[in-house]
């Protein structure tokens, strides 16, 4: 692990520092973690593209119900495979220093399964289904109720789906979001 530093030039680190919420040290630390996922491949090419299955080995992602969505949202090729830069991006958004608005933006994309830029009924159903464990499943009626209630609370303009503005409003008023939507490096 000692040669972690030699893989980046000073300019590259500065570049990363400018574009993410990390300091140079943290960037290097992130790279160490990334390298741990596939030591040989990354040792060869520091910005190697790892398949989604490999990225999902990352401890926090392994147990996350939205893991595939997270990978897809951050993948630059949109198929879930992530290069180091994509990974760095992901960690930067999940880090403590990222502002709520940026986190909300990405959370919105993660929860927007069908990609229509609205969190509709089907998206909400999917979210609720994924949240509960496989052993204790909410009944269809209960999910329906939960979704109805969410819309009732948050859908300000009554169009049957949450737009980004409405979603951001919820997030803005939630004191726990920043605590929950965080992965420490």
């Amino acid at each position: 692990m000692g040669q972690g530093k030699s893989q980046f030039t000073e300019e590259e680190l500065q570049d990363y520092e400018d574009l993410t919420y990390f300091t140079k040290k943290e960037v290097l630390y992130a790279h160490k973690k990334f390298k741990a996922l596939a030591p040989e491949k990354v040792g060869h090419n520091k910005n190697a593209k790892l398949p989604m299955a490999k990225i999902l080995q990352y401890p926090e992602l392994r147990v996350n119900p939205f893991r595939d969505r997270i990978c897809k949202v951050f993948s630059s090729s949109n198929d879930g495979d992530c290069t180091f830069e994509d990974f760095l991006d992901m960690m930067s958004v999940f880090s403590e220093n990222a502002p709520k608005a940026v986190k909300a933006e990405h959370a919105f994309r993660i929860f927007d399964f069908d990609g229509d830029d609205m969190i509709g009924v089907s998206d909400l159903r999917e979210v609720v289904e994924r949240l509960c464990s496989p052993e204790l499943k909410l009944s269809d009626f209960d999910i329906q109720q939960v979704v109805q209630n969410v819309l009732e609370e948050a859908d300000l303009d009554d169009d049957g789906a949450l737009s980004f503005a409405e979603f951001e409003h919820i997030i803005d008023k939630s004191s726990d979001f920043c605590h929950a939507f965080r992965i420490r490096l």
């Binding site: 520092e17 400018d18 574009l19 993410t20 919420y21 300091t23 140079k24 040290k25 392994r62 147990v63 996350n64 119900p65 630059s76 949109n78 830069e85 994509d86 991006d89 999940f94 959370a107 994309r109 929860f111 399964f113 069908d114 990609g115 229509d116 830029d117 509709g120 009924v121 089907s122 979210v127 949240l131 509960c132 464990s133 052993e135 909410l138 209960d142 109720q145 939960v146 109805q148 969410v150 609370e153 948050a154 303009d157 009554d158 169009d159 049957g160 980004f164 503005a165 919820i170 997030i171 008023k173 939630s174 004191s175 726990d176 979001f177 605590h179 929950a180 939507f181 992965i183 420490r184």
Partner: protein
């Protein structure tokens, strides 16, 4: 008057809207959702270039659409290029962002950082932006003053960045806490952060106290060497040989300390100012921290209480969780919470009878009275015990042991008792926290008063210091050995399968231990400077012991614990205890001073160190009278009155704003209904189904309807191909079948396919629009 009528009318409308069942309302509005979205995108509100929110959203909309293209489009990089162009163009609308000076550069950097795009895209945008900026710059020379300002700003930024880097490399206990968070979620993690924060604070205190108070005294002691004999018991009681030692107030010198150099060190000044400065400084820091946290978690989110379900759905999952076990528990607890919320909701419809309500209320009051009686009773008992003239040899130690026992057991009683009451879970936690804090602070105040009043002739400060020392020591035994042992054995029993439930990590009780220790420290630090060192060491040990305890013996809690607000409350209690300390010490210092011992034995009162020692008010009658005027009750009363008025004013304003929010919400709802209505009308008009002809002169070239019709509806519009069938198809796929059916039968499907299609219509269309409006 007009306004009143209006709002009354609106209220009626609202009622009309709200009495309709939600489901039917929704199914109406969901009709033609996809096609409508396109039309909605043409609305003026969606096209304000200077609206940052939209700027960012637009991009991701394009992103979503581009994603669909990417699958069958070979030249994806070209799309990325175009997308970057869009972002750059929209950023160029911000004047401030595009100036050619360092400040704007910093702004640009921040804007780039906040873009919800990948790094490649950010880089692309940055290159284009800097090219555009250098093209625009006029090359004006910067004035000297501005150059100075920028240089200072840069230096400050560099220092800040480096500081962050340093903090990151020095951030102790990073990995252990991360591991704990992975096992138990962020709530237990926040307990450890609290512990770490207190530890860091005490470490800082230790350094200052040792440097300014203890070391000079050691230097002084070196000159006159004398040895005292100490027994092991003295270490526990703090008495005997330890009484006259560095540990306690009484030992400290009351005059100048002169070592071999020429410089003199005035011990009373050093002692007084170090302590007072530390107390006040930390009071300031704590107040700021608490207020900040309070604002973040209570005030700014106060409107969010109504989003119970939405909060559960969107913020329910703890992304920091690592282990399978924790993930399973997290999922299960979410399931339970959904169930609970739903049943609560159905219960809400059945109104609770007033008899029941009254019963609950009476129970709460009765239990509260019982608890208050318990607290007062134990304080009273303590007072009697302290005054008892006992024949026991180590009576003081006995008293401290009793105290520790009471302070350990009472919180447990409070935790049990609160279950009899009818509070919400979070409120009940706060209630038992408050009760425990009341007991602790009351006990310490009582001790302070007892020693100051009953033993004023002897060195009461040292006695109180000893008392605090014993409390810290005995609590060390309890919280470092007894409780962990208990938890470990429970964990073992669970692992052997003898018990159904594993011990959970009790955040409330553990946090209380921390608050208790910190409170004792606040009270005792003045009279026993080295107590800081003891408490710091104790926190250090506590961290490792609790960590092992948690990881080896405990299970994650079955209920999801909302950490953010609880954390604020914990900070609040720490601040409150410091305030109580300041209050207690302040009022004592204006009244008494030991003439027998301590650094202040040369002064009549402790505060005379300032008034006589530093300011020498005796010789300056004018300054003295000004000071006396300022601390008159009238002046302070006036200040209080002023503060009250200010608070009242702010409250009135916040209430007015809350009303405004409610009104705006209603208006938003009505607007949305209007939009809905108009869109339906447009669809009807376009299909020739509208019976009444709208006035043609309403639709001048400026109206949005006109533009909409021109650009969306006209098939020959070059550069903009509206392919409704494909659009509705792709957007509807993820929806439930019923919506799909509805959409299929809608009029968009009936349109003939116009051949060559380009699904990237949205951004091309909006470009078109933007260009034309410019």
């Amino acid at each position: 008057m007009f306004k009143l009528q209006d709002s009354a009318k609106m209220d009626e409308d609202i009622e009309e809207v709200e009495t309709r069942p939600a489901s039917s309302r929704r199914s109406v509005t969901l009709r033609n959702n996809a096609a409508r979205q396109v039309a909605v995108n043409f609305m003026p509100s969606r096209q304000l270039p200077y609206n940052t929110l939209r700027l960012r959203r637009n991009n991701s909309e394009h992103n979503a659409l581009l994603e669909e293209v990417a699958a069958d489009d070979a030249d994806a990089p070209d799309n990325a290029e175009k997308q970057a162009d869009i972002i750059v163009r929209e950023m160029e609308q911000h004047k401030r962002l595009m100036e050619d000076d360092p400040e704007a550069e910093e702004l640009r950097r921040e804007a780039l950082r906040d873009l919800p795009q990948g790094l490649t895209m950010k880089r692309n945008v940055r290159a284009k932006l800097s090219a555009s900026v250098s093209l625009r710059s006029k090359g004006r020379p910067i004035s000297l003053w501005k150059r100075m300002k920028y240089r200072a700003g840069f230096a400050w930024k560099r220092v800040r960045d480096q500081l962050r880097e340093v903090i990151f490399s020095f951030e102790f206990w990073y990995e252990p806490i991360r591991r704990i968070e992975g096992h138990f979620g962020s709530a237990v993690g926040s307990y450890f952060y609290f512990l770490r924060w207190l530890f860091a604070l005490d470490l800082f205190l230790t350094i200052l106290v040792v440097a300014f108070v203890v070391i000079p005294q050691i230097l002084h002691d070196d000159e006159k060497k004398e040895t005292v004999q100490m027994t092991a018991l003295d270490f526990i009681t703090g008495m005997g040989g330890l009484t006259d030692s560095l540990l306690f107030y009484g030992h400290y010198h009351d005059g100048d300390i002169s070592t071999n150099s020429l410089l003199n060190y005035n011990m009373p000044f050093a002692y007084f100012f170090t302590m007072v400065c530390l107390y006040l400084m930390f009071f300031g820091v704590l107040c700021y921290r608490t207020a900040y946290s309070y604002r973040l978690n209570f005030i700014e989110t106060s409107g969010g209480l109504s989003h119970v379900f939405a909060n559960k759905v969107f913020c329910g999952w703890d992304f920091g969780v690592v282990t399978q076990e924790a993930a399973r528990l997290n999922a299960n607890s979410l399931y339970n919470e959904f169930k609970e919320l739903l049943s609560e909701q159905s219960r809400k419809n059945i109104s609770i009878s007033w008899v029941r309500k009254l019963g609950q209320y009476v129970t709460n009051v009765l239990v509260s009275v019982f608890v208050v009686a318990l607290i007062v009773g134990s304080e009273w008992g303590l007072w009697l015990l302290l005054g008892w003239d006992s024949p026991l040899r180590h009576f003081q130690l006995f008293v401290s042991a009793v105290l520790t026992a009471v302070l350990t057991i009472c919180p447990l009683i409070f935790h049990v008792v609160v279950k009899l009451e009818f509070y919400k879970p979070r409120t009940s936690l706060y209630v038992s926290l408050a009760r425990t804090w009341l007991l602790v602070a009351g006990t310490l105040l009582l001790l302070l008063v007892y020693w100051a009043r009953e033993h004023a002739q002897q060195c009461w400060e040292t006695s109180f210091g000893q008392e605090a020392y014993r409390l810290v020591l005995l609590d060390t035994a309890v919280s470092l050995f007894v409780l962990p042992l208990f938890e470990f054995s429970r964990g073992l029993i669970y692992q052997w399968g003898r018990s159904e439930s594993a011990p959970e990590f009790n955040i409330a009780y553990n946090s209380l231990t921390l608050i208790y220790n910190q409170t004792v420290l606040w009270f005792g630090m003045m009279f026993s400077p080295l107590l800081v060192v003891a408490v710091t060491l104790k926190f250090l040990l506590l961290f490792y012991i609790k960590k092992e305890c948690a990881l080896r013996a405990c299970q994650p809690a079955r209920k999801v614990w909302r950490a953010a607000q609880t954390q604020t409350v914990l900070y609040m209690f720490v601040t409150l205890s410091l305030f109580t300390t300041l209050f207690g010490l302040g009022s004592l210092f204006f009244r008494t001073s030991s003439h027998a011992c301590g650094p202040f034995r040369g002064y009549a009162y402790v505060y005379s160190v300032v008034s006589e020692g530093v300011l020498q008010l005796q010789q300056r009658p004018a300054a003295r009278s000004v000071l006396l005027f300022i601390i008159r009750p009238g002046v302070i009363g006036f200040l209080m009155l002023f503060l009250c008025v200010a608070v009242y004013y702010l409250r009135a304003r916040s209430r007015a704003q809350r009303d405004m929010v409610a009104i705006l919400r209603r208006m938003l709802r009505l607007q949305a209904r209007d939009k809905d209505f108009l869109l339906t009308a447009i669809a009807n008009v376009a299909n020739g189904e509208w019976l009444y002809s709208p006035k043609p002169d309403d639709e001048g070239p400026d109206s949005h309807t006109f533009k909409y019709l021109q650009e969306v509806r006209k098939p020959s519009n070059s550069g903009f191909h509206f392919d409704a069938s494909r659009l509705s198809h792709s957007l509807i796929e993820g929806r439930p079948r019923s919506f799909v059916k509805e959409n299929r039968s809608s009029n968009y499907d009936r349109k003939p396919d116009d051949g060559d299609t380009d699904s990237s219509f949205s951004w091309q269309g909006s470009n078109n629009y933007l260009n034309r409006s410019e």
